[in-house]
Amino acid sequence: MNIADGNKLLRCHSRWFFLAITFFLWTAASHLGAQGDISKRIVSIVPAVTEMLFEIGAGEQVVGISSFASYPNDVKSLPRVGALLDPNIERILSLKPDLVVLHNSQTDAIEQMRRGGIEVFLYRHGGISDATEMVRRLGRRTGRTIKAMMVAKQVEVKLQSIRTRVSKYPKPKVLLVLGREPDTIRNVYASGGIGFLNDMVTAAGGINVFAHIQNEAVRPTAEGVLAASPDVIIEIRAEGLLSPTTTSNQPNVWDALSAIPAVQKDRVYFLTGSDLVVPGPRVAKATERLARTLHPSAFK
Amino acid sequence: MTVGKSDALLCANAVSYAYQSIPVISDVTVTAKSGDCIGLLGPNGSGKTTLLHLLAGLIAPVSGSVELNGIKLDQLGRRAIARQLALVPQETALVFDYSVSEVALMGRYSHLDTFANETQEDLDIIEQCLLVTGTLDLANRLFSTLSGGEKQRVVIASALAQLMPSSANSIAATDPVLLLDEPTTSLDLRYQLLIAEVLQKLRGQQTVTLVLSTHDLNFAAGLCDQLILLREGKIIASGPTESVLTAEHVRELYGIDADVTNHQKTGRLLVVPIKEA
C-alpha cells in the first residue's frame, strides 16, 4: 500500500467517519432536544395507536386505553376511558395525562383537553402509509424514535415482500366484507376504495371490487354484489362476540347468489382477528393472511 | 205506577250502577209501555245519561236488570237490541267526514250482515226517514257542514232508520223504542220546536215509544205524558206529567221557587222560575 492509496483510503473512511459522527450527534440531539417533549403519561382512545405505542416500546408510558382495545395482553390491566362515541373525560383527566390520543372527529373531547391545557395527538383513519407515518410520529413523541423507525420499516419491508411474492399471479376481484346481518346477505358492509383495508387487499395481490367508490365503506345490495361479480369473497371480523366456531357453523349465505364467480369456485372465506381490523403495526401480518387466502400457491 | 210488568215494552227493574265505586244510579225502576213518552228530568249529574245507557244496554247494571219485551238485555245480542231500540246521543261529532246519507245509512248496520252491502230497500228507508225529519234536502251534503239542529235531526233520522224493519229480517220491530239524550240542549228555539214536532209525529204516526232526558222542563211538559224526576241517581217522583210537575217537586229537584201554570194557548204546563229557594 502506497501513500496515495492510503490517502484515498483515509478520505473514504473519513467520509464515513464524518457521517457517523453527524448521525450520532443528530440522534443524541433529537433525544436531548425531545427530552422536554417526551410524553410520559399517555391516554389513548384509539386501539390502533395503543398497539403502536406498545410495539415501539412505549407501553410503560401508556396509562389509559380505549374500551375496545384488546392487544397486546398488557393492556388488559390498564384503566379504560371509553371509546369513539363516549370518551369519559373525567376518567381521562383523573389519570393526569400529558398526552391524549383522540380521533379527529371527537371535537368536544379535543376542546376539553385543550382547555385543560393537555396536549392532544390527533388520529385520523387512513391508509397503510398513514399508519406507518403515525408510528414514526409516535416514536418522536415518546422518545422511541429509533424503535419506531424500525417498526415502521419492518411493516413496509414485509408488505413489499408480500407484493413481490404475489406479483406474478393474476389479481382476483375481491369483495371484502366487514359485516352483515347474521344468516343472510342483507345489509352487507364492505370496504370501499379508500383506507387501510383497501390497501391491504391491493398489497395482498387482489383488486377490491369497490375500489372505484371513494369511500371507506360501501353498502352494496344483492344486485350490487351480483354486478360486481367478485372472484373471491373474504369476510373479516374482529374477535369478540362472534367466535370463530360460530362463523364456520353458519351455512354459506352467499350460495344464494350462485352466479358470482366466488361462489361458483367456492372461494368464500371467513377470517377473524383484531389484527385484521386495526390499522396498527400488525397490518403487515394481516395482509399476509389475506395474501395467503388469495394466493395460496404463492406461499408453498 | 201500577202497570203490570208483562205489559211493559222496556223496563229497568231496580237497577243500580256505580262508576269506580261511586254510586251513579240507585235502585231505579222505569217502565215504558208501547206508545209511552217518558221524560227523565234532573239536574246535571243526576244520572240521566247513565240511566239511558242502562236502558239501551250499553252498560250493564251492577244490580237489577233491564228487559226488552220481557227478555233480559244481556241475553239479547247487540244487533237484536239495536233493531228494536235506538239511542240518539247528546252530541254527534264525527272524526272523519261522511255525507248525510252515509250517516243515515249507518243506522242500517244491525240489519245487514258483515259482508253485505246496502240495498235499494235500505236507501228507500233512509229517504223516508230523512223526509220525516225534514232533512231530505241535505242528503248529499257533508255532515260537518250542517248546523247543530240539522245534525240532530239527521241523527234522529238515522236512529229511525235503525228501527225500520227490513224484508231481509224476519224479526219485525213492531214496537220500536227511541231513547234520546237531551235532544234539544244547545239548539235554538226554532230547532227545539222542529225537533218537538218531529218527535210528536213519531209518536203519532209511527207509534215509536220515546224515552228522553232533558233539562228543559217546558219541553218535557209539552211532549211527555209521563215524567221521572231524578236526583243524585234516585227517583224522587214519577208518574203522569200533571201530577209530577208541581212547584214542590221543582223546588225539591232544582232548589228554586217556580210557578207552574197551565198555558192558555197550548194547554200545556208551563214552568217559570222565580227565585232561588
Binding site: F68, L85, L178, G179, E181, P182, D183, T184, I185, R186, N187, A217, R219, T221, A222, E223, G224, L226, A227, A238, L241, L242, Q250, P251, A256, L257, S258, A259, I260, Q264 | A56, L58, I59, R78, A82, A86, L87, P89, T92, A93, V95, F96, D97, Y98, V100, S101, E102, L105, M106, Y109, S110, T114, N117, E118, L123, E127, L130, L136, A139, Q162
Partner: protein, 342 residues
C-alpha cells in the same frame, strides 16, 4: 219535495267496485315496473333464457334474486303499513295515529337490533334471525299493550292503548340506545342503518314467512270496514247502532299490530307510509272504509315501491335507505296536515 236532485246516493255501489279494480290494476302495474328499474343494465333476453343454467345466469339472478323479491316485499310492506294506518286512525278516532303509535315498531326494532348487535345465529328452518327476532319483539310489544289496555272492566280503552303504546315506544327506544352503546363502531353503524328501513330482502324466504301473518291480518281487515265507519260516531253511538265495539276494537288492534309486525320484520321500521297514504286516499275517495281500506292497501303498495325505486336511482350508484325517502316526503306532509287542520 225535490227528490230527484237530492236522492241519496247509493253508498257502496258498482261504481265503488270498479274504482277498486282500477286502483288494483294501477297498483299492480306500478309494482311490476319496480323490478325493471335498477342501476345495473340487464340483458333481458338472458334473464328469461332457460338454456342458461340459473346458477350461472347473472342477469337472471339480478332480476329474480336481487330485484323481484325486493319489489314484492315493497308492495307487501306498503300495503300492510297503509292498511294498518287506516285501521288505527279509525280505532283511535285520530287522523294522526300511525302503525308506529302502539310501540309495535320499536319492539320489532329492538328484537332485530339485539340480534344484529349480539350477532347470535338463530336461524330457524331457513328464516334468518333478524326477521324472526323482529317479529318476536313486535309480538312482545303487542301483548304488553293489549294486557295493559284490557285491565279496565269496560273492554278496551283506547286512551290506555295510546298511552301504553307511547310509553312502550319511549322505553324500547331507550333500550335500543343502550344496546347501541354496547355495540362497537361497525355494529352501531349497522344499527343506525337498520332503523332507516331496507327492502333488499334478496330471498323469498322472509316473504314466504310474512305471508301467512299478512293473510291473517287481511282477514281481520276484511271484517272491519263498516264497523270502522260506525266507530267514527264514538263508542256510544256505534254500540247503540248494534256494533260490538269491544270485538271491533280487538280485531282492529290485533290485525293492525300483526300487519305492522310482519311489515317491520320484512323491511325494518319504514315510517310515514301509514299516515301519508290513508290521508291522501281519504281526501280523494271519501271516508267509507269499505273503499278506503282496500284502496289504501293498493296505494300503499304502489307508493312504497315507487319510493324504493327512487331510493335506488336518485343517487345511483349509491343507494339511499327507503325510510329516508318516505321521511323526506312525510315530514312536509305532516306540516301541511297541521296547517290545513287549523
Amino acid at each position: 219535495m225535490p227528490t230527484g236532485l237530492n236522492h241519496p246516493k247509493a253508498a257502496f255501489s258498482y261504481r265503488s267496485y270498479s274504482t277498486l279494480i282500477a286502483l288494483g290494476l294501477a297498483a299492480v302495474s306500478i309494482c311490476a315496473i319496480g323490478p325493471i328499474i335498477g342501476p345495473t343494465p340487464i340483458n333481458w333476453r338472458a334473464v328469461f333464457d332457460r338454456t342458461i343454467p340459473f346458477a350461472e345466469n347473472v342477469d337472471a339472478q339480478i332480476f329474480f334474486i336481487a330485484r323481484l323479491p325486493r319489489s314484492i316485499a315493497g308492495a307487501l310492506v306498503g300495503a300492510a303499513l297503509a292498511s294498518a294506518g287506516v285501521v288505527l286512525q279509525a280505532l283511535f278516532r285520530n287522523p294522526l295515529a300511525t302503525p308506529f303509535t302502539l310501540g309495535v315498531s320499536s319492539g320489532a326494532s329492538l328484537g332485530a337490533l339485539l340480534v344484529v348487535i349480539i350477532g347470535a345465529p338463530l336461524a330457524i328452518s331457513g328464516l334468518p334471525a333478524v326477521p324472526l327476532a323482529s317479529f318476536a319483539g313486535a309480538v312482545g310489544a303487542i301483548s304488553i299493550v293489549y294486557v295493559l289496555a284490557r285491565s279496565r272492566r269496560q273492554g278496551l280503552s283506547t286512551s290506555i292503548l295510546l298511552l301504553s303504546g307511547v310509553t312502550l315506544n319511549s322505553l324500547f327506544s331507550a333500550i335500543i340506545m343502550f344496546v347501541q352503546y354496547l355495540a362497537d363502531y361497525t355494529e352501531s353503524f349497522q344499527a343506525v342503518r337498520y332503523l332507516m328501513g331496507n327492502l333488499d330482502v334478496s330471498s323469498y324466504t322472509p316473504i314466504v314467512w310474512a305471508l301467512p301473518l299478512l293473510i291473517v291480518a287481511g282477514i281481520g281487515f276484511s271484517w272491519l270496514p263498516r264497523a270502522l265507519n260506525l266507530l267514527t260516531l264514538g263508542s256510544t253511538g256505534a254500540a247503540a247502532r248494534g256494533v260490538n265495539v269491544l270485538q271491533t276494537q280487538r280485531i282492529a288492534f290485533l290485525s293492525a299490530s300483526l300487519a305492522t309486525g310482519a311489515a317491520v320484520s320484512l323491511g325494518g321500521p319504514i315510517g310515514f307510509v301509514g299516515i301519508i297514504v290513508p290521508h291522501i286516499v281519504r281526501l280523494l275517495l271519501g271516508s267509507d272504509h269499505r273503499l278506503v281500506l282496500p284502496a289504501s292497501a293498493f296505494a300503499g303498495a304502489a307508493f312504497l315501491v315507487t319510493c324504493d325505486v327512487a331510493a335506488r336511482t336518485l343517487m345511483s350508484p349509491l343507494e339511499l335507505p327507503v325510510g329516508v325517502i318516505t321521511a323526506i316526503l312525510g315530514g312536509p306532509f305532516f306540516l301541511w296536515l297541521l296547517v290545513r287542520s287549523k
